[in-house]
Point group: C3
Amino acid sequence: MKLDSLLKERFGDTDVGSEIYALAASIYPICRSITGDGVRKTLNHLRQHIDLNVNEVRTGTRVFDWRVPREWNIRDAFIKNAAGEKVVDFNVCNLHVLNYSSPIHAKLSLAELKEHIFTLPEQPDLIPYRTSYYADRWGFCMAHDRLVELPEGIYEVLIDADLTDGYLSYGEYLHRGETREEFLLSAHVCHPALANDNCSGLALLTYLAKLLAGRKTHYSYRFLFAPGTIGAITWLARNEHLVGRIKHGLIISCVGDGGGPNYKRSRRGDAVIDRVMTHILQHAGPNSAVCDFVPYGYDERQYCSPGFNLPVGLFQRSRFGTFPEYHTSGDNLDFIKPEHLAESLRVVWAALNIVEGDCRPRGTKPKCEPQLGRRGLYSSLGGDKEAPANNMALLWVLNLADGVHSLLDMAERANLPFQVIADAAITLNGRAFGIGLF
Amino acid sequence: MKLDSLLKERFGDTDVGSEIYALAASIYPICRSITGDGVRKTLNHLRQHIDLNVNEVRTGTRVFDWRVPREWNIRDAFIKNAAGEKVVDFNVCNLHVLNYSSPIHAKLSLAELKEHIFTLPEQPDLIPYRTSYYADRWGFCMAHDRLVELPEGIYEVLIDADLTDGYLSYGEYLHRGETREEFLLSAHVCHPALANDNCSGLALLTYLAKLLAGRKTHYSYRFLFAPGTIGAITWLARNEHLVGRIKHGLIISCVGDGGGPNYKRSRRGDAVIDRVMTHILQHAGPNSAVCDFVPYGYDERQYCSPGFNLPVGLFQRSRFGTFPEYHTSGDNLDFIKPEHLAESLRVVWAALNIVEGDCRPRGTKPKCEPQLGRRGLYSSLGGDKEAPANNMALLWVLNLADGVHSLLDMAERANLPFQVIADAAITLNGRAFGIGLF
Amino acid sequence: MKLDSLLKERFGDTDVGSEIYALAASIYPICRSITGDGVRKTLNHLRQHIDLNVNEVRTGTRVFDWRVPREWNIRDAFIKNAAGEKVVDFNVCNLHVLNYSSPIHAKLSLAELKEHIFTLPEQPDLIPYRTSYYADRWGFCMAHDRLVELPEGIYEVLIDADLTDGYLSYGEYLHRGETREEFLLSAHVCHPALANDNCSGLALLTYLAKLLAGRKTHYSYRFLFAPGTIGAITWLARNEHLVGRIKHGLIISCVGDGGGPNYKRSRRGDAVIDRVMTHILQHAGPNSAVCDFVPYGYDERQYCSPGFNLPVGLFQRSRFGTFPEYHTSGDNLDFIKPEHLAESLRVVWAALNIVEGDCRPRGTKPKCEPQLGRRGLYSSLGGDKEAPANNMALLWVLNLADGVHSLLDMAERANLPFQVIADAAITLNGRAFGIGLF
């Protein structure tokens, strides 16, 4: 499963990063929330690429300690000044409305209006992203610079939205592998116009699913596109019987910017996915980093709650909360780039590659080194100081192919990328060393 | 058991540091040794605060490889010059006499005298503290500056002391808890006028015992005020049957100066008390440090001998042997301060608090996070970058309340002070989460 | 087994480093290869010191995945210019011939000749050492400076050598100890005139064997002087039944230069020999270093192959491949020094000393410290800040003599040299503490 040849086969000369970017861009303008038509529209976009199941769960359904909330749909919103000019317009940027806001239509003084306005005084040109899911509240978000320009006077505010009984929607796609053991890949679908967080993750996972389609795999790959927190809780509540199948998992968000890459370990800390991602990021450049689990973040919070404790980590480029554009209008289509999306895809693919390809080969000639030279695998000219580097992967595989060490163990101990070790194992196997690979 | 409210209840507005300091100052002038009336007088001072048992063990009693030594009592000592003027006077500073010195009354030349005089040429204005317990020897200690001023001539020396069969004395106080499991707290009582080493420790433990009096505790707290080495050996020899009850222990000395605080681990290295003190000192400021056990120091040497191997560490501010005032007349009442004594009390109290309060709660809602917002424990306004910090302790407790992790485990993993975690656990318990705490 | 007194006993005032150097110098001029008379001559030199068994294994014998190669013997070799002058002469330096070269006698143009010449353009004044064991090939090695001086013209080349069926030779010497448990010591014998790599190792092991002769030891010490790779493989193939006896092992090479010392761990990483060598090098000066096993290097590659996985590490001064003289004519008799050889002997001796002397003593007085002062082992004068350092080794042994900790454990934990701990244990044993040593 070499990614480059697969990409060539599927997309020809088209750059996959640009493809992912285009999909992210197409869903960016949609006003998503934890429920409502924004989510449905988004899932319909993804459906043009993969055969997604859309699940609808009725408002009020009990999901563990929670209940599925009402459905929110919004048509329009603005603030007009005394002259009737729109000083804030939902149609320009859907972050302007407090997400999941109650409806309102009123005339207010500036002072009254300000009680319902959120700004970022320290980033005065950016519109913040704020939500109010679990308290009835109406509000607007805007650039602080614009707020301070507003003159005294009477303002007309409109939020033409409904909060009604309905459904929570989420998308699910299963790539069936040879076994029922699952690799869970999940991206949250609830944020409105934030490109990195998480149009990038939704688009990347869609393309990953597309690449897997028709490929034979050991694991089954389950893709989830669900609202944050309540979506994961809902899925877990409805699929408790499946949870034991999940052997590895990654939450994917913020994968289009130029930071990182970063991995946050699962609660277990030493799950296979933790070792796999640590190994990949170790070879992924100087800015990559791995951090321990903390019970704050994305949906790993739910998958790693003590009653589940699943081997699910979080993959990101920049870490949430650490970049200035986070949860603001600065997280727009200029902030994500095709090359970062492509590199993120490579990282996730590398993880799949390792869990699919890892094994514990056992050499058939464990006593002393086999004679590599005779088989054309070793220079016949001795004494050269430079020679060994070329042979190290072969020597490591031969030395550790004892049925105990996995290829990942070897890669870690040799400090070589997994693929270099796997290729050496394949070479040895091909030359009749019979190391029992795959 | 919040210390501040307890201090308020017991001492009103009086600062406990000043109280401890006053007790240390009251025992400072007494000339203590490993045996004799100096120890008895000191224990009598402590008895004004707590109901101390004083034990007397006869000279010659076998205690493991040792015998209880003779009792030493001193009445007066001086060196007089040819003019009959006292150039060294025991009544000015009891460090002047080699501790446990044989008696002497003689006239000597300066050269003969010098063979019995100990000074510190590198700290010429300070009187050293020296002892000779196990070899018959007489001697004086004095400032090197004073020694070099002495003219040739005949000197009269007097050490009016007895070394006679008698008793070794030590004090013991037991605060009975709900169980017979014990926490041992021990301070050495054998040093003469050295304020930090160990009037500070004696006074601190006395006040700690006083604070515990009347309080319900899980552990029984055993306080020992015994001469160094031979006192600990004597106690262990007479109480071997109790040793199995000791679950935690701290040797307390040098707790009044401005250094550290420092903790030296028990021989085990991973005893609960080692983890507890490491945790506390990690949150105690930049100068705090924890070091491994070495078989030199205070009475942890005996408690950690291989036949006992008890979970007993050493708590100090500055480490013995590392501060210039150590074992000199510089270790006087100016060297210790009420605020340092109070801070030391806080550290020891924090240790008691952890061993008393630690438990392994099990959440009743382990699957996914409970809905904190509905219970007023989580901001209803989402998207704010600053929000999580306030909730981290609650989230950590919920995430780790699996019946396996203790509150201390949680505090270590969350890198939050134990009390913050314990308070979060209490909050969750109080809001009907039923995490099975305490 | 104190080395200094043993050296005195055996060699009087002669410096052992000079003795080892003289032996290394005497074998330096011999043209060795993996087979042939060069090896036999070398073993005969060593035989003047120890009663070496020389084993001869017939060409073509199967040894695991390999076959014993033909025997190579060389009489003469040169390159003559048009004037009949030797521009390259085997008799001046045996590195000039590609080791194991096929015979040749021909006249060639300079261009044709150059295809068979190896130089080091970046070290233009040095002759490289190159081999061609497993491909039929003839060639010469020479200084790059000399090569570029050669004028166009016709050259006569002669390599008067045979490659014929014969034998592979290796030397073996067994010092029998009280048990059949073995310590393997091995040096490769196949390199021609390279002083450090490995005349130094051959000479050092010969003197080590000589020193052991007549000494009572716990372990049996097996010395191997065999060609690299094929020699180790041959020995292992013929002695599989002995392999289980090998409890510790060291490959010895490059022990005469001024670098390091260095130790490379066995594949196990935590074998006793790994701990022993790590401990010794920790106390051996600032340039010493220990590195993990990698499956490239000397014969540890074979001993640590997965089917054997023996506790065999590599001891060197400078690491192979890292010093500029490595595998060149710069590795000559000026490059090695008697003092480095002597120091290397000390390191290896120290390792023997530890494995021979280590034990898990159990004190007879485990409860509290025994009274050292009464036995003259502790200053009777207390209070001195400097006193403890002198007693630390005694205190550590008493504290850890619980039948669980070995002397090496103690030395590691105390951060004191093994010998200091062992001497303290002997002192305590001698003073009737009965700590059950040896």
